[in-house]
């Protein structure tokens, strides 16, 4: 049995705007292994959530091309009834905003119980309740019997996110997709939720896709990192490589724009221009080239592909070899590379 849990091949997810289709996820290939946490980073509009929703088959009005192999079976474009056998059972999803991800008119117990019920019809009502309380305990809810009968609005944000997680892991899924699970939470709550995800991973050896824009979260959680820009993966490598030897200009720009420097009041790096909207994505050439205009256009590839620069480290386009920040002198930079 291979340890490859999920293999995505040339995935293209397109949305219809007016009369044309635009790819929000454009030719993405990646793998997730068992007991591995793959972080997908990028700014809003880079297609990372669209990718997650494609894997779960949650897009209702999008065309999906390419293959999504889950344990060897292609689940791309599977009819909803077949997909429902996977969703909630083999694949669980944690959503960004725990307030809106829960049904406001349903008690917590029923919402978690629903996941169990859908995939195990033989479980008795009582057995289900016992299991739900067990799950609530597992995700660190202090009074599970009491919370069972509560409504979402009676819980704090952190508690709600624990409930969402309990729902996602109810059937011990082998693949867990977490879409910005801590963005809506306070820092101290964020660290607790991240710790919980770590513990769950150690227990279950599930493969996890963690989608985030927060590089600190990536540094703390990920085994491997995929950086997305404009619907494509621009760099993918293990977490140490991404932080210690980032190559793609976008990865490097992102890392430089985070205020975490020890020296206060230093200048942060600003990426010129804006993330292009879906309709205005450049579909040819290096998609990042507009935002690094000082790099000579001849350094970009015509059709940028991922290059394996070292085992497991892929970078799109050749422009990375010639990239430097405007405030650095060009000569200095080139010495480092050569």
């Amino acid at each position: 049995m291979s340890k490859e849990l999920l293999k995505i091949e040339n995935l293209k997810t397109s949305f219809r705007i007016k009369d044309d289709y635009y790819a929000a996820v454009d030719d993405v290939s990646l793998t997730v292994n068992k007991n591995e946490l793959l972080a997908i980073v990028g700014e809003s509009g880079c297609g990372k959530s669209a990718l997650a929703f494609s894997i779960m088959g949650l897009h209702s009005r999008a065309t999906i091309e390419g293959n999504i192999l889950f344990k060897g079976k292609n689940i791309a474009n599977l009819p909803p009834n077949d997909m429902n056998k996977f969703r909630g059972k083999d694949m669980g999803m944690i959503f960004q905003d725990p307030l809106t991800a829960l049904n406001p008119l349903m008690i917590i117990g029923d919402q978690i119980g629903e996941t169990l019920l859908l995939h195990n019809k033989n479980l008795s009502v009582n057995g289900r309740k016992v299991k739900v309380i067990e799950l609530l305990k597992k995700v660190g809810i202090p009074r599970p019997e009491y919370t069972y009968n509560q409504f979402p609005h009676q819980l704090s944000g952190g508690m709600r996110q624990r409930v969402v997680i309990a729902m996602a892991i109810a059937n011990n899924p082998e693949l867990l997709i977490a879409d910005e699970p801590t963005t809506a939470l306070d820092v101290t709550i964020q660290s607790q939720i991240l710790d919980l995800i770590k513990v769950l991973k150690e227990d279950s050896h599930a493969g996890i896709i963690l989608i985030t824009h927060d590089l600190g979260v990536v540094a703390e959680m990920a085994d491997r990192v995929a950086v997305m820009y404009a619907g494509q993966i621009v760099e993918i490598a293990d977490v140490y490589t991404i932080f210690e030897n980032p190559l793609h200009p976008y990865t490097r720009s992102l890392l430089n724009s985070v205020p975490n420097s020890d020296e206060t009041n230093s200048r942060l790096h600003v990426i010129q221009g804006v993330v292009p909207s879906l309709q205005n994505l450049p579909r040819e050439g290096c998609r990042f080239s507009d935002r690094i205009p000082w790099v000579d256009s001849s350094f970009h590839e015509k059709n940028p592909v991922l290059h394996e620069v070292s085992p497991g480290h892929f970078v799109r386009c050749t422009c990375y070899k010639h990239f430097y920040f405007p405030h650095e002198s060009k000569e200095e930079k080139q010495n480092v590379i050569s």
Binding site: E43, S44, G157, D186, V187, T188, I189, Q190, S191, L194, D195, H213, D214, L215, G216, V217, A219, E220, A222, V239, Y240, F243, S253, L254, S257, V258, P259, N260, S261, T264, N265, S266, R267, L268, H269, V270, I271, V274, V275
Partner: protein, 310 residues
């Protein structure tokens, strides 16, 4: 005398209850906050949701009613800012969190930015247009774009429009309430850099409210940490980040993710230590209601909410 001085500020919201909706208690959103800001500096107010940091900022500018306390600005009492003269009021402006909802989408940029000017000054149409165009240039947007609507701009640009409006009257103090929380990192960097630029250019003083310690550390000269309406610690960035004394501050600092993946194991261990210390010594640092004590000086610049000795 400091530039802005807040003394023992309290903002209590009544809680209605019972059969007739009588006031049965109060939520002490801000409960005895004192702070002072030096001219030209940036003061960071940090806390998690419900800590009272936003209420403090809104109370200073008069958006929340003050229960008690005193606020002076350049030595003049502005506790009732809505009643003081326009000259002083226009010196204090606010930047809001969400650049998507804080701008009126039905108005053109010129009307948004000129609104405070119209309230405080009498300018002819031509003068006004010229002024707005200058402001747009100042915040790095093209002067021709004044006839556009907010939705035609990106998030970072919209926040610049919010800033243009805030600096339109050449204020001296800007209260910035989570100005970059809704923005992507690269856009955030843009806005933060820009805020530092105009600070130097116009000699602005900031009260910078945020939950993001990374941003606060980057921007601020002095930092106050709030918890449940009270201060738990106040000091220079070095005091807060390298030598936190209050258990809550320690926990907050420990919760910031470390950007170096090599430190992961170490950081987790450290965080666990802090968490168990927090649980163990909670009673020592908080009173029976779970509130912080009064601030006590531990060094010249560093104040910590510790129980009174003896």
């Amino acid at each position: 005398m400091s530039f802005l001085e807040v003394t023992d500020l309290k903002v209590h919201f009544p809680v209605k209850g019972g059969l007739f909706g009588r006031t049965v208690g109060h939520i002490k959103a801000v409960d005895g906050v004192s702070l002072s800001i030096e001219k030209g500096k940036t003061y960071g107010l940090v806390g998690e949701s419900g800590s009272g940091k936003t209420t403090t900022g809104r109370a200073i500018i008069g958006l929340n009613n003050i229960t008690s306390g005193k606020i002076t600005f350049e030595g003049r009492d502005i506790t009732n800012i809505r009643k003081v003269s326009k000259d002083i009021r226009k010196d204090v402006q606010m930047i809001f969190q969400d650049p998507y909802s804080s701008l009126n989408t039905k108005k053109r940029v010129i009307d948004i930015v000129a609104e405070p000017i119209r309230n405080y000054e009498k300018l002819t149409k031509a003068e006004e247009t010229k002024r707005v165009q200058e402001l747009m240039e100042q915040v790095g947007l093209s002067p021709e774009s004044i006839y556009k609507y907010p939705h035609e701009f990106s998030g970072g640009q919209r926040q610049r429009i919010g800033i243009a409006r805030a600096i339109a009257l050449k204020p001296k103090l800007i209260i910035a309430d989570e100005p970059v929380s809704a923005l992507d990192v690269s856009v955030q960097a843009q806005v933060l850099n820009f805020m530092q630029d105009i600070q130097k250019e116009l000699g602005l003083t900031y009260l910078f409210i945020s939950h993001d310690l990374g941003v606060i550390k980057h921007m601020c000269d002095r930092i106050g940490i709030m918890y449940k309406g009270r201060y738990v610690e106040e000091g220079s960035p070095a005091d807060i980040f390298n030598n936190p004394q209050h258990i809550y501050t320690k926990r907050l600092v420990a919760a910031i993710p470390d950007i170096n993946p090599r430190n992961r194991a170490e950081h987790i261990k450290f965080r666990q230590e802090v968490r168990s210390e927090y649980e163990k010594s909670y009673d020592k640092y908080f009173n029976s209601e779970g509130l912080a004590y009064m601030l006590q000086p531990v060094s010249e610049s560093h104040l910590v909410a510790l129980p009174e000795k003896g």
